[in-house]
Symmetry: C2
Subunit: 201 residues, 2 copies
């Protein structure tokens, strides 16, 4: 359980989860600068209440959270508030976590790491029951929406060491996946997934 | 089970579900012109596979489906294809179905009809197991996204009798809710929810 000031690694292409208490600050660091970090949060008291992008967009009145905005649960209660963001502020709430179906459609034969399975493994590691796979908060992911309603897949705008700090608004389990997407340049033009880090303090 | 040419009513403020076979055309009619119709689809073979907005946005490369676009499931398989749209083409994939929490936050004391409970009731009526509450395809809903990432709640742009026709890409259960939102002008400036209709042929 990562509740000290220790820096925890989200290994490249893999997931990691941790418990956080209400009021703690979770800092998610884009260590190498261009890594998308899929992020989920679940109420520790009952993981069937979890951070929901579709509820958050409605309650925030926007598609990308900024400092001062609270992400809410599927019960419309604040669960994480953005308290600091040293990146240019570009994140994504629109796209599903990658999954085995995504890679199969991209032509992969056999196993490919994916954020959906990473979430399952990370939750299991901390003993959290996973009720479903919510749409993640894709930190650092750059998916511009054009006036004609198209979305584009662009490399992140963040730089090495930049971070987002999130305040836990309830006791929760937070889960991350360092996105293993290496076939589309969402993790930088080089398509090289890297590790990322977080602290909880 | 509505699999004939009969016109089925989605009562004002309520839900309705039906089975459709692969290849059938589901026509969703905005009878009075300004009614949002929350729409869900579930694989008849296994309702844990269902239409997913976050997967659909990724696969379509856009946030609003148009004629020719397929909505996909959480397994990234096409489930509904837009084959005709006589409206100006404005629909929403971003916002959660309204729920009791939404109305509680708007100050409602006691019961208020809501799309989430309507989905539950409609699925029960057709004997479909509801695995979770997916983000709906909000037909006719007008939620523009501004360049600064804000979303706005605007009245529908559709006119009475305009419709969207969707082809079933697998045997499925389709569920609708004529959104009972009467406190925010998403169902027209008059905030008066109305019935809508559908056919399956």
């Amino acid at each position: 359980m990562a509740t000290s000031h220790e820096t925890v690694t989200i290994p490249a292409r893999k997931g990691k989860a941790a418990h956080a208490k209400k009021g703690q600050i979770i800092r998610v660091i884009n260590t190498h600068g261009e890594q998308v970090v899929d992020t989920w949060a679940f109420s520790a008291a009952d993981t069937s209440e979890f951070m929901s992008m579709e509820h958050s967009r409605a309650m925030m009145g926007k598609i990308i959270p900024a400092v001062g905005d609270s992400l809410v649960t599927n019960h419309r209660r604040p669960i994480l508030t953005v308290v600091e963001d040293t990146t240019p502020g570009i994140h994504d709430t629109l796209l599903a976590a990658c999954d085995r179906y995504r890679y199969e459609l991209l032509g992969v034969k056999g196993h490919h790491d994916n954020c959906t399975d990473n979430l399952t493994a990370a939750m299991k590691e901390v003993g959290g029951k996973l009720p479903e796979t919510p749409c993640p908060l894709n930190l650092f992911m750059n998916i511009p929406v054009r006036p004609d309603h198209r979305v584009e897949f662009q490399p992140p705008t963040s730089k090495p060491g930049q971070y987002v700090a999130l305040r836990a608004e309830m006791d929760l389990i937070i889960a991350f996946s360092a996105c293993p997407q290496d076939m589309v340049p969402v993790n930088g033009a080089a398509c090289t997934p890297t590790e990322a880090h977080f602290t909880i303090a």
